[in-house]
Each structure stands twice: as structure tokens, then as C-alpha cells.
């Protein structure tokens, strides 16, 4: 297998979730090649917690639903398995405790100085990410793998696509 073919097999998963008013939580996972070309997309139907769940989970409801219920489901469901998962929501970083692949979260503070000084910060394309505090060893693995991603790639953009697709599916009642 040539080096190019190996490179082209490298796959990233862009996972995000959102709360849609009156509908509940939805999540989507877009698998792309290293250039951002889509390979597979999975999304959930809106998940609306009941009153008991809202009361008993309290403030932990959103993180639990997005990070464990939705994110786990999507990763299990997807057919084209990614080599790593990237997310833009810190709640989903919790997914790392349930899957065997590295998970990186887009750093809210994109300051290079701050990100590079932390133990968990690393850069993919033009953006800084961080790994789960309990899995800091992921950083080295991610840094190695993501050298295949073009340095000028905008890693925020695929999340926009996922959000747009989620709204489209909700609109269509999927």
C-alpha cells in the first residue's frame, strides 16, 4: 500500500450535539477524510428527557445526554470508524471514558500561548484542541496522527456542516 493510500484512509470524526427548542437534544457525527470530504454521517432523532429525568439529573442533564447517551450511540452506530473524534462541546469530551479512541475538544480559548502551555493542548489544522484530563496520553497520539491534516485546514468548518445537517433533519422530522 502506498503512502498516499494510507494517508487517504485516515479518517476524522466531527461530533457535536445541540439542544433544539421544544424538540430536545440531537447529535451528529460526520466522518471525513483528511481533507474534510464526507464519508459517512450519523445523527440521532431528537431526544427529549422527561420531567423526572430533568429533576433527577438537574444541571448534569445536558452533559450526560450529549456526552454519554448521544455521543456513545453515534460512535457505536457509525460504520466507517474514525481514527479520532473531535468535538466542539466540552460536555462530549466525557465520551473518552467510554470509547477506545482519542477524543479532542476544540479549545474555547484559541490562544496559542495558553493552549500550548497546557498538558492537554494540541493543534490540528489552524485550531487548538485539548484532550480529556484523564487521558493526557492521547495528546501524543493525536499529534502524530493529525500531521496528515493540512496545516491550513479550518477545523471549525465541519462542525458547521454537522449543525446545519442536524437542523435540516429536525426540520424534516427525521
Amino acid at each position: 500500500m502506498s503512502a498516499t493510500e494510507k494517508k487517504d484512509q485516515f479518517r476524522l470524526g466531527f461530533l457535536t450535539a445541540m439542544e433544539v427548542p421544544d424538540q430536545g437534544f440531537v447529535g451528529g457525527l460526520l466522518i471525513t477524510n483528511r481533507h474534510g470530504r464526507p464519508l459517512e454521517f450519523q445523527c440521532t432523532a431528537p431526544l427529549k428527557p422527561n420531567r423526572t429525568q430533568e429533576i433527577l439529573y438537574g444541571l448534569t442533564l445536558g452533559p450526560y445526554v450529549m456526552g454519554e447517551v448521544i455521543a456513545r450511540t453515534l460512535v457505536e452506530k457509525v460504520g466507517v470508524k474514525p481514527h479520532l473524534i473531535l468535538t466542539e462541546r466540552s460536555e462530549i469530551l466525557e465520551l473518552r471514558n467510554h470509547v477506545a479512541m482519542p477524543v479532542g475538544c476544540l479549545d474555547a480559548d484559541q490562544s496559542e500561548k495558553v493552549a500550548s502551555e497546557t498538558e492537554s493542548g494540541f493543534k490540528i489544522g489552524r485550531q487548538w484542541f485539548r484532550v480529556h484530563s484523564g487521558h493526557t496520553s492521547d495528546r501524543g497520539e493525536l499529534e502524530t496522527q493529525t500531521t496528515q491534516v493540512p496545516k491550513d485546514a479550518d477545523m471549525r468548518e465541519p462542525f458547521e456542516r454537522v449543525r446545519e445537517a442536524l437542523l435540516e433533519t429536525v426540520k424534516n422530522g427525521k
Binding site: 498516499t4 454521517f41 460504520g79 479550518d154 456542516r161 435540516e168
Partner: protein, 681 residues
């Protein structure tokens, strides 16, 4: 079990919260202490030192732990259903056997039955999901590393550079589709593919929504582009990518070819199409080949050519993603392959005005080709009548067969299926084009020959009466037009004199000019007369293999300032941006064709102004034709929308050709005007 105490039931806690954090501790109750307290109170009452309580009621003081104050808990009294009497001696009469004091023993339901203890286990049902897998698509050879300098202007690699391949531009000139390096201060542009209006299924819509922005897809990442397209070109590519039926009608020179090639390239990559047929006029085959090489070098294309057996093999050859054919071959070969015609995912017709006549063989053949997507490319979708659009729509399968949409319906269809941009709209930076009409007096010999020919011609036509046809009138028009070019016996030509004067200046300044004429004979005449300018000639009589070298020589040789072309061969598809002068030696019947000719020079990549000189002989048929055409400048814009003020695509109809002359037939003692016969019903 401590809950069995009656007092527990007495002191029910009622709160508004049941969350674990707000549970209030159960109050401790000691019956013995309660009895002692009660007796002491009785004694105090009897001794007159305290209030005498009603022995039938037990009033329980609030327990400190159940105080209502402050924590939202209140005590309520519950009737126990019996009246305990406690004697001073300290025993309870209720415990006595017998009924001597009228007290009945009864069972008191201390608990309400069926009050379950609330238990909740976290459970989330199976989350329904929806998935979409994207097709694999074609994988082509990786682009050469040296081409990764895309967008910087140029192919400086070992292989042929894009600058050598794309077209005939002077060294250092801005190529077609190329823009200067982007300004970092300008926000990043993203052109997203939008789902087409007719995409209904969620799978289709998501497929388009989830595609990356074209800039990401094309700019130096996966698909190398030799030059950065203009924003409007990105929009055109994105639009084409999503369309099943499309008419790309950009004005000439805006890069329809490049947009189409790139859209094809993306569709192949995305696995949306596997087999494409592109049909164009025969003279444009080399142009398409060159553009494919420049914009999508990795795409394998096969040009249908050779003898019939070879062509049959080419039509049916598997694994070829793109076939290139000319209209003539298409007509011939699809008759041959009628039993089992090849099928295509995408059929593209370049210069699609070729199928404007719905009943023509070309149009019928094009419509018969099995295909999934139908695209038409033309800068002049309407050449004569708005109805010509109906033929294009029928090819695109957006109207039923043989239907005739009215103007309103055509406008509506245009919004969905036509993309047209004009230079005025998108190319504000394109150097200006100056048109000047040179109204020239004929020379004496020319004038005499012209007047005589016109007079004789009209007499002859009048004598034919009602048997006269458009063809007869047309022949006279042609004869007169030829005389306005030059007088055949003496060779006198007012236009030639003016042209020579202009060419002196152009050649001296190192400029380049292209000249168009309707007749190869006129071109031959000029070639001889202008020999000192060493002109090049390009028309249908030149073998196709010799045409490309002629264009290359015109581009590169400093001593070849003039290229003379026929409208039929040179007006379409060529990129001659390095020429700053265009001469229309005689006028074509249709301004759209003239515009096509002018736009060989006035197109993307042109760095200087373009001066267009139209020769019109005064007091001749040329002036009359020009007047008629200039009065017909509205229908094009009416169908294709506003902002289209540069293309006037309506040529003369039969009535107008008759109207060029005052033709009269004898009618009794007088005369009457001769008009064209109505078309047969």
C-alpha cells in the same frame, strides 16, 4: 419498625420538594415522655396552676424539628379515631377489657395501603439514529507535486505548465480564472453547495449540505486547481454540482468551460457520476481537450473519432469517465447504436443553441440519449425567438415533450434552471470595451457597382411578384454586402483603406488585432492586399490540425499582428485575450454571433481595453440591417432577466428581410407591397 408508632402518623410532614437534598429528618417521638408530660399538665390544671386541657383532645406541641417556621414544613392534625384516656394512676383505660366506660376497641388503619416507595433507575431507551454513507467516487492519479503551487500563478514544474496549456496568453498575463493572491485582511470566503430546489428526500439534501465549501475542496487540498477561480465561478461550480438539469448561460468569456470541467471533476470525485458525454461543435474539440488538460489533468478523456468501427468501440469502452464528441458524430453514431445506446450519468451540450430547433435531427438525437443529468452550455440561449428556450428545456427534461411554455412560464423556469451572469454584473474589473461604428462612404467604383446591383436586383424581384421567396431576397442582400466589402472588378474597398490605416498604427505599437468576415473569399482578398502585415488566416478551409499552430503563432510571433477569421469558425470557443483590437469587416445577421466573435478578445485575462471597430457602408444595405437589429434589443432581457443589456440575440426574420427593400408587385393599374408567404399550416 419505628414507623408503626401512631405518633408518626400524627406528625405527617408535607413539603414541596422531594429531592434527596431537601429531605427533613424524621422527628423523634418518645411515648413515655409524652405520657409524663400529659399527666403533669393534668395535675397542674387540677391544682389550678395551669390551663385545664380537654381530655378528649391531645394537642401536640410542635416538635422542634418539625417547626413550620422557616423551612416550609407544617404540622397537621390527624384524627386518630379514638380518645385515649390516661388515668392518673398511669394506665390507659383503652387497654382495659370490657366496656364498662363505653370505650370500644377498634382497629385503626395506621398506614394507607399501597403507598409504594419511589424508586427510579436511570434508563434511557434506545436512541433512534439516521445515517448516510457517501459514495466512494473516482480516485485518480495524484496530482504532480510541482503543481501544488496552485493559486500562486503558476506551474513552474518539470511537466508542461498550466500557462502553456490553458490558452494563448502572453507571458505573465493574467490567465483565465486567475485572480491575484488573496488579501489576508479580507474574510475567508466559503462557497457552499446548496441542495437544489427539487431535492426532496432528506438523503439528497444532506448529501449536498455536508459537502465541504468549494474553496476548501479545491484550494490546494484534494483537487489541485491551476488558478484560483473568481467568486462567481465558485458559485457557478456549486450550482452546477447540485443540478440535475442546468443551463449555464454565462456571457461569453466568463469561464463556462472551466466551471463545467470543475463541476464534472467534483461529481466524479463525489461518486455522483461515473460516465459523462460532452458534445460540442467540431472546431471546439481541441479547445476542450486543452482546457481539460489545464483544469483537470487527472481526468481521462476519450475523443470519439476515427472510422465507424473504431468509434463504436470507443462508445462502448468501459472505464472511461468522459467521452468527448462533436454534434455530427453524435447524429451519425446514435443511429448506428440505436438498438443498444450507451447510457450516461451526465450529458453536456456545449454551444447548446445547436438544438434550438426542436425537430432537428441533432435535437432529437440529444434528447434520445439515456442520461441522468442534462446540462446545456451557451452564451446565447436565445438567438431568434424565446421559444428556442423551450427546446433547451425539453432537452433538460423539465417540461413535457412538445409543450410550448409562454413567456411567464419561461421566466419561471429560468429562475430554477438557468444561471446567467454578464460581464457587467461580475467582471467589474475587466478592461472596458469600446465599440465604434465606422460609417464609410463607398468609393466611386464601389458605389456604381452597388447601385447597379441593387437596382437590377429589385427590378428582378419585383418582376417575380408573389413567387418571390426569402431566399431570393437573401441572395440580393448577400450580393450587395459583398460589394460593400470590395468591388470585385477594380478591387476598390473603402473598408480596406480604413483597415490599412488602422493596421499601420496597431503594427507599429506592437498590438494585435483580429478581423472577422462572413466570407472566406473576402479574407482571401484581404490576405493579398494586407500582405505587408503578414496576416494569419483561420477559417473552415484550414485543416483542423493546422489551426492550433496558427493560433500559437499569432500569440507568439511579434511580426504577425493580424489574424483574419470567419465568423463560423473563429467566433466560438477561442481564447485570444492578448488581442486588443477587433474588426468586424462585415456584419453578421445576428448580434449574438458578433458578440461571440468580439469576446474572443474581450474576456477574462484581457489586460487592456478592447477596441471594436464595426465597418458599416453608408447608404447601403448594411446601414438598414444595423437599424433593424438595433431596434430589437428587449426580448433577450425579458426572458433571462434584468442586467442583460449586452446581448441582443435576435436576427432578422423573413418580414424584416423583405422590409430591407421596397418591393412592389403590379396590382391592376398600380402596385402593392410584396410580403413573405405565411408559413404552411
Amino acid at each position: 419498625m419505628s414507623d408503626s408508632s401512631p405518633a408518626t402518623q400524627k406528625n405527617l410532614l408535607v413539603g414541596d420538594s422531594t429531592t434527596p437534598s431537601e429531605v427533613i429528618p424524621r422527628p423523634h417521638f418518645d411515648p413515655q415522655q409524652f405520657a409524663r408530660q400529659f399527666v403533669n399538665e393534668q395535675l397542674a390544671a387540677e391544682a389550678g396552676t395551669g390551663p385545664r386541657p380537654d381530655p378528649s383532645v391531645i394537642e401536640t406541641a410542635p416538635h422542634p424539628a418539625t417547626d413550620v417556621s422557616g423551612n416550609g414544613v407544617e404540622c397537621v392534625d390527624v384524627d386518630l379515631g379514638f380518645r385515649p384516656q390516661i388515668h392518673i394512676a398511669g394506665f390507659n383505660s383503652a387497654l382495659q377489657r370490657g366496656t364498662s366506660n363505653g370505650v370500644q376497641v377498634m382497629t385503626v388503619p395506621l398506614f394507607s395501603k399501597g403507598q409504594p416507595t419511589t424508586k427510579w433507575t436511570p434508563y434511557w431507551g434506545k436512541v433512534p439514529t439516521f445515517g448516510l454513507t457517501f459514495p466512494e467516487g473516482f480516485e485518480f492519479l495524484a496530482p504532480k507535486p510541482e503543481k501544488s503551487a496552485a493559486g500562486s500563478g503558476g506551474g513552474e514544474g518539470n511537466g508542461p505548465s498550466a500557462a502553456d496549456l490553458i490558452d494563448l496568453l502572453p507571458p505573465g498575463a493574467l490567465q483565465e480564472g486567475q485572480v491575484p493572491a488573496p488579501d489576508p485582511a479580507v474574510p475567508e470566503r466559503r462557497t457552499k453547495v446548496k441542495p437544489p430546489k427539487d431535492a426532496v428526500s432528506i438523503e439528497d439534501r444532506l448529501f449536498y449540505l455536508l459537502q465541504p465549501p468549494l474553496e476548501t475542496w479545491l484550494k490546494g487540498q484534494e483537487l489541485i486547481m491551476p488558478f484560483e477561480p473568481f467568486p462567481y465561478q465558485y458559485e457557478g461550480i456549486a450550482w452546477l454540482f447540485a443540478q440535475q438539469a442546468a443551463l449555464l448561460a454565462d456571457e461569453m468569456g466568463l469561464g463556462k468551460t472551466m466551471q463545467t470541467i470543475t463541476a464534472m471533476r467534483l461529481l466524479l470525485r463525489a461518486g455522483q457520476v461515473n460516465r459523462i458525454l460532452l458534445v460540442c461543435p467540431k472546431p471546439l474539440i481541441p479547445n476542450w481537450q486543452r482546457e481539460f488538460k489545464a483544469w483537470a489533468e487527472e481526468l481521462p478523456i476519450v475523443t470519439i473519432e476515427g472510422d465507424s468501427n473504431h468509434r463504436k468501440l470507443q462508445w462502448t469502452m468501459p472505464g472511461v469517465p468522459i467521452l468527448l464528441a462533436n454534434y455530427e458524430v453524435l447524429g451519425r453514431d446514435f443511429d448506428m447504436l440505436a438498438d443498444d445506446p450507451p447510457k450516461f450519468d451526465l450529458l453536456i451540450l456545449d454551444e447548446a443553441q445547436r438544438i434550438k430547433n426542436r425537430g432537428s435531427r441533432t435535437a432529437v438525437t440529444a434528447r434520445s440519449i439515456p442520461r441522468k443529468r442534462s446540462w446545456a452550455l451557451t452564451g446565447t440561449p436565445i438567438e431568434n425567438r424565446p421559444e428556442e428556450m423551450a427546446s433547451l428545456y425539453e432537452f433538460m427534461e423539465v417540461i413535457p415533450e412538445s409543450t410550448c411554455p409562454d413567456l411567464r412560464q419561461l421566466q419561471k423556469l429560468s429562475k430554477s434552471y438557468v444561471l446567467r451572469r454578464t460581464k457587467d454584473l461580475v467582471m467589474k474589473d475587466l478592461p472596458p470595451r469600446f465599440d465604434r461604428d465606422e460609417i464609410l462612404e463607398l468609393g466611386p467604383a464601389q458605389k456604381m457597382a452597388y447601385d447597379m446591383a441593387e437596382k437590377d436586383g429589385i427590378v428582378q424581384l419585383n418582376s417575380m411578384g408573389d413567387s418571390i421567396s426569402v431566399q431570393h431576397v437573401f441572395e440580393l442582400v448577400l450580393r450587395l454586402k459583398q460589394i460593400t466589402n470590395y468591388e470585385p472588378v477594380t478591387g476598390e474597398s473603402a473598408k480596406l483603406e480604413r483597415l490599412e490605416a488602422d493596421m499601420e498604427e496597431i503594427a507599429a505599437s506592437g498590438g494585435k488585432a483580429i478581423l472577422f468576415s462572413q466570407w472566406t473569399k473576402t479574407i482571401g482578398f484581404l490576405e493579398e492586399k494586407l500582405a505587408r502585415f503578414n496576416p494569419l488566416v483561420y477559417h473552415g478551409g484550414i485543416p483542423p490540425k493546422k489551426r492550433e499552430p496558427i493560433l500559437a503563432e499569432f500569440k507568439n510571433a511579434n511580426d504577425r499582428p493580424l489574424l483574419m477569421m470567419s465568423y463560423a469558425t473563429g467566433a466560438v470557443g477561442l481564447n485570444l485575450q492578448f488581442a486588443g483590437y477587433v474588426f468586424l469587416f462585415d456584419r453578421w445577421w445576428n448580434p449574438a454571433v458578433e458578440d461571440q466573435a468580439i469576446n474572443r478578445a474581450h474576456r477574462i485575462g484581457q489586460k487592456t481595453q478592447v477596441i471594436v471597430t464595426k465597418f458599416i457602408s453608408k447608404d447601403t444595405i448594411e446601414e438598414r440591417i444595423d437599424r433593424v437589429l438595433s431596434e430589437k434589443r428587449k426580448i433577450f432581457a425579458a426572458v433571462l432577466g434584468d442586467g442583460d443589456n449586452t446581448n441582443i440575440s435576435l436576427s432578422l426574420n423573413a418580414s424584416e428581410i423583405f422590409g430591407l427593400f421596397d418591393l412592389k408587385a403590379r396590382h391592376g393599374k398600380g402596385t402593392r407591397s410584396i410580403a413573405p408567404l405565411p408559413p404552411p399550416v
